[in-house]
Symmetry: C2
């Protein structure tokens, strides 16, 4: 078995001991991947990894994933269940618990119906939470992880480049997305971290806008927000460009966002509270008079999940540590004019920050 995985399991079991958790049931695909090397999204089917303090690991998967689970995980105990039977029988047979067993689950990654089912099946009332254990483990990235994140960031840079090269008045948002994803898949990228976003004109003012057939027009902001997955690790980049010449206000808000983002990046270093990163960007934008148009947190942790710890918001007192990886992405969104967001992925170093995404942040005027 992979030594990195052994180490992770050992560290997780040490955490379990400290928390006096006897048995852990891990159900989130990324945490299962983190501990076993096997990744699958079982959708509405059950998938679970049981870890006991005695060192037994037992992976239960839908029958149709069993072969891959055995191959990828290298675990001795991998059980598959059919759709008609479900996992109940396997769990009853192999999992010994008593009413006193302190069982941990991922409270935020398991639905309530599954919890009710487990309560009946195992006759346990209360479930402890494993999430802080996984957050702790996954919060600091090791060198191999950072290498994957760096590679994912490299392809995010390329993706923006492809998108910008294919920009043209009259083309639709979806056409640009088609071009980006086509080129990336041709280069061997298996999947994007989330639905690629290209928003134009007033739609760029919607941080969660949905790309569509809207045509790009002269004078529009075009906002890219996208990422790719490499070895399971996600990147996330945003860039905003202008079709032709910017208006005075467009140039103004672009310059403010760019400066706010730069200041936030420069704030990052170990041993300061995370909120300081958010507050740096927020205060700069507020002083410039656009505070009410910056309507989301400054960033989020990045790793196997596109959104993970830490959350870069103005109330997060957590302390920044070397090896954390997160996004820095302030924005200003003016309903009548459009929005600007600039986003990079950063790794905390021993005395500052290394920026993984490197695509230019100059205001590019397309077609000029």
């Amino acid at each position: 078995m992979d030594k990195r995985l052994d180490k992770r399991i050992e560290r997780f079991m040490n955490w379990m001991k400290r928390e006096q958790i006897d048995l852990a049931l891990v159900t989130s695909p990324t945490n299962i991947y983190y501990l076993t090397g096997f990744y699958s999204n079982p959708h509405e089917r059950f998938m679970g990894l049981f870890l006991s303090l005695t060192g037994d690991l037992l992976l239960i998967v839908p029958e149709l994933d069993q072969k891959q689970a055995i191959e990828k995980s290298n675990l001795t105990h991998v059980f598959g269940f059919s759709d008609a039977e479900g996992p109940d029988g396997i769990i009853r047979k192999h999992i010994q618990v008593s009413h006193n067993t302190r069982l941990g689950i991922e409270q935020g990654n398991i639905n309530y119906k599954t919890v009710l089912w487990l309560q009946r099946l195992l006759q346990i009332e209360n479930f402890l939470n494993l999430e802080s254990g996984f957050n702790e483990l996954r919060l600091i990235k090791d060198e191999t992880e950072i290498k994957s994140l760096q590679e994912a960031a490299y392809f995010a840079d390329r993706a923006v480049e492809i998108g910008i090269q294919s920009l043209q008045s009259g083309k639709s948002e979806l056409e640009i997305i088609a071009e980006i994803e086509y080129q990336l898949k041709k280069q061997g990228i298996e999947r994007m971290s989330f639905d690629t976003m290209v928003l134009t004109g007033k739609k760029s003012a919607l941080p969660h806008g949905k790309p569509g057939k809207d045509k790009i027009q002269e004078g529009d902001f075009v906002l890219f927000d996208l990422g790719v997955v490499v070895n399971g690790y996600c990147s996330d980049i945003s860039r905003t460009v202008i079709m032709g010449n910017p208006s005075e206000e467009q140039r103004k808000i672009y310059t403010i966002v760019r400066q706010a983002q730069q200041l936030a990046i420069e704030t990052v270093k170990p041993n300061i509270p995370i909120k300081q990163v958010d507050l740096t960007a927020r205060e700069y934008i507020s002083k410039a008079g656009y505070g009410e148009y910056f309507i989301h947190r400054t960033g989020h942790g990045l790793g196997l999940d596109i959104h993970e710890s830490p959350s870069i918001h103005e109330k997060n007192e957590e302390i920044i540590k070397q090896g954390m990886v997160f996004t820095i992405e302030p924005g200003i969104y003016l309903p009548q004019i459009g929005g600007v967001r600039i986003e990079d992925d950063v790794v905390v170093t021993d005395n500052g920050v290394h920026v993984l995404t490197t695509f230019t942040k100059e205001l590019l005027q397309i077609g000029k």
Copy 2:
């Protein structure tokens, strides 16, 4: 407000009355869309629609979705919350409950952490389940829904066509996927129902295999499984083709799967148990000697979600009704040779079935 939506809300409230549910909290994006016309995936953020029996509807969304929520939903009460504040304040201010309030949630669509948070916030211990209400409502599709499903199926047919046209020995699975999605996005398709699957050679024997850089070779099965979303509604199609000439066993299992699938389709009509559809395919494949290689249910319901009610498995005693929409997708998976799956989307009519996906099921020999 849209009359179809009014009608749905009325029917849902009638269901709530029958079940003596005073207040419903809907959190699944597709159910919120079904009732309001507003769709968003808030990822780890909270999004909830409160419906009370007094007829009050209150939608709570992350601040960055508020504008779109107001526009799309036409609801009077739409509240946004910032990342730093969270939704607690809004809920405390606007939602009146007592310890006796019978509150319904979607047990399978809400995570345990959110339930624990609601228990603290609202001081309610037990939550009833809304899911059977939504299943009941959404199980039977109306004409407008079937029109969207038909259109989604049309593009699924086109997608397979594009994929097959671009097949060539030496190309990778990902290259074929790139081609398919590029052409579809160019035609205005916003998103696929799930990650497009093109699997070649032995990998076609993995029902949940992950496409990669594997090169297509002469003599390989190539299995397509994909779908597109139109107006929120999903299609789902599988076809399997052969590169060059099939071996005897490849031709044999293809013929068995095709016949099993055809027989299962012909079984469908109102007023018989759903399990009969599964058993028809299963028994045919078993009698042909390949029962142990058909390792999943025969199909699943299809609609706003790619997997919804009904589940087409051998123990489902539910009765088939006109207007149900589901997939029929038996398969045989031989680890050393590869897999065959053939999948169509069907609508139950008054006396049988209408097949939405129409791409040929002849065994296509590519390059011959």
